[in-house]
Amino acid sequence: MSTIVSLPDQATASLPKRSYLNNEYGLKSWLLTGDHKRIAMLYLMSITFFFFIGGAMAGLIRLELLTPQPDLMASDTYNKLFTMHGVIMIFLFLVPSVPATIGNFVIPMMVGAKDLAFPKINLMSWYLYVIAGTFTISALVLGGVDTGWTFTTPLSTHYLNTHVVTAALGIFVAGFSSIFTGLNFIVTIHRMRAPGMTWFRLPLFCWSNYAASILMVLGTPVLAIAIVLVILERTIGIGVFDPAKGGDPLLFQHLFWFYSHPAVYIMILPGMGVISEVISTFSRKRVFGYTAVAFSSVAIALFGFFVWAHHMFIMGVSNYSALVFSLLTMLVAVPSAIKIFNWSATLYKGSITFETPMLYAFGFIGLFTIGGLTGVFLGSLGMDIHLTETYFIVAHFHFVMVGGMLMAYLSGIHFWWPKMTGRMYPEAMSKLAAVVTFIGFNLTFFPQFILGYLGMPRRYHAYPPEFQVLNVFSTAGATVLGIGYLMPMIYMTWSLKYGAIAGPNPWQATGLEWQTQSPPLTENFIETPIVDYEAYDYDWLANKTKHEVTTVG
C-alpha cells in the first residue's frame, strides 16, 4: 500500500553554502575535474548542443516533406541530412543521454559512493565524446556523408565519394566513450556500494543502467571492428566486405547489427530505469514486483544479443535463420511487457500526484507501448516484408526512441533537476511543455504509421501527391514538437538563477541521493551512509522525517 507523505515546505529551504558547484571556480576546475557530478553537467551541455543540431536537421527534413515535390533541397542534400540526423541523434544524443548525464550524476550517490570507480576514465570518456562530436561536425562541415546512419556496404565502401571515413571515425571514438561509461558503471555498482546496500536494495535505475552497461561493454567493440574494417576497405582496399574480392556485404550487416540492435536497448534501458524511479516516487509506493523489474532489465540485455538479424530479413539471410530470429524477437516483448505491467500495478492504489516528471512518464508508458507493439508487427516475417523500408519503420523506432526514450530523458532531467542545481523548474510551464511534447509527438509520428502502411518508402525526398495530407500533419506536428523541446531548454536555463530553492528532498523520494543536500557536496556524503532499509521504503522515509533534525549548510 502506498504511504501518504506530506511534501516539505520549500519556503524555508535555503541553498547550502558549500556544494559541488562552488567548491572550485574557473574553467580549468571544470575541464580537469574528476567529480562525476561535474562531468555529468559537462555531458548535459554537450548532448543538449548535439540534440539541437540533430533536431534542426529533423526540422529541415520535415520541411522538405511538406510538399510532394523535391523543392527545398537536392536529393543528395536530403540524403546527407537524414544521415547526419541519424548519426548525431543515435551516437551523440540517445546513447549517452541518460547514462552519461543522469546516470553519471546519480548512480554513485544511489549506491552510496563518493564517486564512480574511475573518475579519470570518466573524464576521458567525456573528452572522447567531444572528439567524436568534432569528427562528426567536421564530416558535416566538409560536405557531409550520405550513407544513412547504418553505413551499409558496399554503398559506404565503394559507391560514395563523401566523408564516410571522417564520420565513421567519429562513431568509432564515440563508441569508446560509451564503453568507458559502461565499464565505470559496472565496476561502481559491483564494488562501490555502501555498507548494507545489497543488490536487491539498489534502486531500479541502477539495475537498468547496469544492464545497459553490459550491452555497451560487450556490443560496442563489435561495432568498432566493423567500422575499422569499413575504413580499411575504403582506404587501403582490403576485401572483407567487397563481393568483387570474394567478401560478403552481408557480413558487415551481421557485425553492424550485432551492436546496433543491442544499442536500441542501450538507449531504452536507462530510460526505463528513470520511469521506475519516477512512477514509484509519485505513487508513493514501492515498485510492484521489484525483483521481476530488476531481472527483466537483465533479460532484455541478454535477449537483445540474439535478435539482431531481424534487421536483415529482406537482405538475403536464409529462410531458416529469418524464422529463428523472428521467434527470438518475440522473446524480447516478454520482459518489456513485464515492466509495463509492473509499472501499471505500481500505480494501482498509489497516492498519485501529477508533477511534470510523472506526466512525461505517463507519456513514456503509452508511447513506448505503441512503439513496442509495432515492433512485434515488424518482427513477424510476413508483415516485415510489407512494412520494412517504409515510414512504418520510421514511425516505429521514433515511437520507441523519441516517444519512449526522449520522454524518459526529459522525465529524468525534470526529476533530478532540483538535485543537480538545487533549484526547482517552474511547475506550470513544465507541465505545459510535457503536454505540448506529447501532442506534438503524436501529431508528427502517428500519421507516419499510416503512411508506411500505405507504402510510402523512407529515405526519399519526394513522394506521390496522395500522401501529402498526412505529411502535412506530420510536419505540423514536428513544429509543435520543436516548441515542446525548446521550452524546457529555456525555462531550465531560467530556473538556474530564478527557480525556487528546492531543498534536499522536494519529492520525498527514498533514494540515497535524496537524503543529502541539493546540490550535493563534492564528496556526496559527509560520512559513508549505512543502508538498513529496502529500496522505495516510504514508511521508513516518513518515520525518518518525523524525527529528523534539519541541518542545512
Binding site: A117, V187, R191, T220, L229, V240, K245, G246
Partner: protein, 251 residues
C-alpha cells in the same frame, strides 16, 4: 570512568583514530580501503580485456565463415606464409611475455632494478616481433599479396613447379584476397595493440626507474601485464589459424 577520561582528554581520540587510518599515498580519495581500490581496478581491467575479446571476436568470426566457404583458397594462401618467421615470432613474443611476468614478480617483491631490466627486455622483444612482422609484410608487397589494385592471383592459378601446389580455379583463387584481407586486418590490429603497448611500456619504464611501482603499489604493472599477456594470447590464436592449420607439405 572511561568516558570521563576521554572527556578530559578529547585530543587523544582523534589522534589515535587518525593513526590507525594511515593511508598509503596511492589510495585514491573515493575508495575507502586499498583492498576496495584493488578489487575495483582489477575488475575494471578484466572488463576492458573482455571488450578487447569482442573487438577481435568480430574478425575471428569473419575468418571462420570465410574459411568455411573458401577452404581451398585459404589453405593455398596460408601456404605462402613463412612458418619459420611465424614460429620465431611466436617464440619472441612468448619471451617478451615472460619478461613481463618477471617484471610483475619484481614489482611485487620490490626489486626496482629487476623491474627496470624486465621492462627493457619486454620492450626489446616486442620491437623484435614488430621488426619480423615488417619483414613478413614487405614480402607480401613483393609477391603482390596485398589486397587492392596491385593484388595478383597468378601464383595461385599457375603455381611454380617447385612449389608442388595444386593450381586453383581463377574464381577460387580470387578468394585468396579475402584471406590476405583478414591476414592484414588481424595481424595489423594485433600489431597496433603491440605498438600502443610499447608506448605504455616506455612510460611505465620511466616511472619504474623512479621507483613508483616497487613501494607496494604494483597495480599498474600487474594490469599492464594482463594487457600484454592478452596481446600474446591473441597471437597464440592467430598463429595456428593463419600459418599452421591444414598446411600440406609443399615449399
Amino acid at each position: 570512568m572511561d568516558s570521563q577520561a576521554l572527556a578530559a582528554h578529547p585530543a587523544t581520540q582523534p589522534a589515535a583514530g587518525h593513526g590507525s587510518h594511515e593511508h598509503p599515498e596511492y589510495l585514491r580519495h573515493h575508495f575507502d580501503t586499498v583492498e576496495q581500490q584493488k578489487e575495483a581496478t582489477q575488475f575494471g581491467m578484466w572488463l576492458f580485456l573482455l571488450t578487447e575479446i569482442m573487438f577481435f571476436g568480430g574478425m575471428f568470426a569473419a575468418y571462420l565463415i570465410y574459411r568455411n566457404w573458401y577452404y581451398p583458397a585459404f589453405a593455398a594462401a596460408s601456404n605462402t606464409l613463412s612458418i619459420t618467421l611465424g614460429a620465431v615470432n611466436t617464440a619472441v613474443l612468448i619471451t617478451s611475455g615472460f619478461a613481463m611476468a618477471m617484471g610483475v614478480w619484481c614489482a611485487e617483491t620490490r626489486r626496482r632494478k629487476g623491474l627496470v631490466i624486465s621492462l627493457i627486455f619486454t620492450i626489446l622483444f616486442g620491437l623484435v616481433f614488430l621488426g619480423i612482422k615488417y619483414v613478413e609484410y614487405s614480402e607480401k608487397f613483393e609477391l603482390h599479396h596485398v589486397p587492392g589494385a596491385d593484388f595478383s592471383i597468378s601464383q595461385f592459378v599457375h603455381p611454380s613447379a617447385a612449389s608442388h601446389e595444386t593450381p586453383l580455379a581463377p574464381d577460387m583463387a580470387e578468394k585468396t584476397q579475402v584471406y590476405f584481407s583478414l591476414y592484414f586486418a588481424m595481424t595489423g590490429m594485433h600489431a597496433l595493440h603491440m605498438i600502443i603497448g610499447i608506448a605504455l611500456l616506455l612510460w611505465l619504464l620511466v616511472r619504474a626507474q623512479q621507483g613508483a611501482y616497487t613501494n607496494g603499489y604494483v597495480q599498474p604493472i600487474e594490469y599492464f601485464g594482463l594487457y600484454w599477456h592478452f596481446v600474446d594470447i591473441v597471437w597464440i590464436f592467430l598463429f595456428p589459424l593463419l600459418y599452421l592449420i591444414n598446411r600440406h607439405p609443399g615449399r
